[in-house]
Symmetry: C2
Subunit: 364 residues, 2 copies
């Protein structure tokens, strides 16, 4: 690395994002391209980039002005997409993923971004950043396209853990509300608990317990609890944040992706069916493209790990440059607003409240 590439991090003021450049299916090329797109958008963004310097340096040098805001941290090691989380926890030290998390742990960067495999990234994040005091299970929160003016609802957990106790669901509610407040500028998000019916007697016992806990926490924590919601409510404007366990959330997310892709396939088929419909598609091209952008999964790329001492954004493994840039943009937005500290304060204060409340007067 020559003098022209001197890292600006820690010297030039700015918001530092730590990037694992070796994760993802498409290689470091799309990651660097995504960084360049984000750099063009956010004037004071800075990067610490982890990966093979011999590969990264030329890629970064090619983008005008990018080298000046990048601090490359060389490593030969990386985590593959199918490596088991337990293996990475034991042997992952020194990989680009591990280093990317450590830069947040060491306060060199505010948020880490990786396209690497979700299980490994969560395992390393938990190991290195540790859970926030009072949080038993971290969660992965995503933006879900919706009819709301903000364009998206927050859904969590979509797969950090396959179980959640009522107390975990309460934590998810606090964290999800905080995420919507900070990520989407909603002053008083409306929050729902996912169930198989909206009537209070329906669903599993754990959900009824969680219902009581969340209802009691709503007022003091500045969100509105709308009660149980169903799968069909997720993309609506009845609610801003949907809370569920990671098993159910992951099934819902993938079912929605499958459905959208099925409908898209049918639509393309419909348009190819006759000459008339092909002409129709031509006329409607711009509007259809607008629809495509609106429901483009790349634009909502970025699952956020909540409940740790530090914020980590997981970009989709198959993300292209636009997708990576969306994940980096999300990381930047959260870092800029001081999200990590605000979330920690929210969780700590809710914990204090519960400890201050004598059990005898508690109504559940």
């Amino acid at each position: 690395m020559d003098a022209g590439h001197t890292p600006s991090t820690g010297r030039v003021p700015g918001i530092v994002i730590s990037v694992d450049a070796m994760g993802g299916d498409l290689g470091p090329g799309v990651v660097v391209e995504g960084m360049a797109q984000s750099a063009a958008r956010y004037a004071d963004i800075r990067f610490i980039v982890h990966g093979d310097e011999g590969v990264l340096s030329p890629l970064i040098a090619k983008r005008r002005g990018l080298a000046a805001i990048c601090d490359i941290r060389h490593t030969d090691l990386s985590v593959s997409m199918d490596e088991k989380p337990s293996h990475v926890m034991r042997h992952g030290k020194g990989t680009s993923m591990w280093q990317a998390i450590d830069a947040v742990k060491n306060d060199e960067a505010t948020v880490a971004v990786s396209c690497g495999n979700t299980g490994a990234l969560m395992a390393v994040s938990m190991l290195r950043l540790r859970k926030l005091p009072g949080v038993n299970r971290p969660a992965i929160a995503i933006y879900w396209p919706s009819k709301n003016p903000q364009g998206f609802n927050v859904v969590l957990d979509v797969g950090a853990d396959i179980r959640a106790e009522p107390a975990d669901l309460l934590q998810f509610a606090l964290m999800g509300a905080s995420y919507a407040r900070n990520g989407q500028d909603l002053s008083r998000p409306r929050l729902g608990l996912l169930n198989v019916g909206t009537e209070e007697h329906k669903g599993r016992t754990e959900l009824h317990e969680a219902y009581e806990l969340i209802q009691a926490a709503a007022e003091p924590n500045g969100f509105e609890f709308v009660g149980f919601v169903e799968g069909s409510d997720i993309p609506t404007d009845n609610v801003d944040v949907i809370v569920t366990d990671g098993f159910t959330g992951n099934i819902a997310l993938k079912t929605a992706e499958g459905t959208a892709s099925f409908v898209r396939g049918m639509l393309n088929e419909a348009f190819r069916y006759t000459w008339f419909s092909r002409i129709g598609a031509l006329f409607a091209f711009t509007s259809l493209r607008r629809l495509g952008v609106r429901i483009d999964p790349r634009r909502v790329n970025g699952g956020v790990f909540l409940g740790l001492n530090g914020t980590v954004v997981k970009s989709h493994g198959a993300a292209d440059a636009t997708g990576v840039s969306a994940a980096i943009g999300l990381a930047f937005h959260l870092a800029e607003g001081g999200f990590t500290k605000k979330l920690a304060a929210r969780v700590a204060s809710a914990r204090q409240e519960r400890e201050d409340t004598p059990t005898s007067t508690s109504e559940g």
Copy 2:
């Protein structure tokens, strides 16, 4: 009832469907219209119709030839859409729903159809028909639009019960495979178990136990087990039958409905956006309508209750005549093929096999 309305049931040979004409949001008018549509399609269909004769007789008399194949069983009582299942079990005797089930119990009809509320219908069905020997939990199976040549995959349980043990999931697999074999004429259906990943180590412990049970049952029961599948696989042609517990299945179903409705809304918006796109929509009208028919939820109307001594088809509460006719058509198809008996035989033989297998040689 005058002589012209003499019931043909039991005298004229035919396949008798027992219809609860008072369930549903839209009233008996659409039910009778749906019956008329089905009568036009199936020459040897016969009905026993339960409900208010004063309302039903004139509606039926209006449809040419319908009265001759209908046996009206009068009752003043009906189950409302929001009545609790437990209440209906205690006080539902004599309602049109109860009578509709009893006609199957008494062997007067082969399959019962109701648009009434799901919880109540399942409760009454379990109470009157009783579970098949060896079945612990009945399940609701539906047709899910898919890329498969048959146009649909079978998904169960979508909401009969909120829990399922590994042994229940095995029963669902046997029943789902039997349903696909008889309802969709698939000689060797491919069956998957819904999970959050396709790798064998992923997901809940119960699912790993169920995996072993289903794998062992596949060969002797004439289906192919493809292993774990994800939410995104449900509408694909990788699989014909998807097995899950009723909580997860219900969330998946409603999430898919919500997603499809969201995309439809966005599409309509896109087509209205500019004059160009409106012209485009005009050109593509026929093809889009063909797409609409393909994913029209009314065409796949009919959840089938499996695991009871008798088959019950639950039509959507908001079903119009086309929807009711689809549910009746499904009931007719199943009745015609002797599905109830075949399913019972399948469950009984699998049970026998397990009892015959010494535990010591069993591999799990």
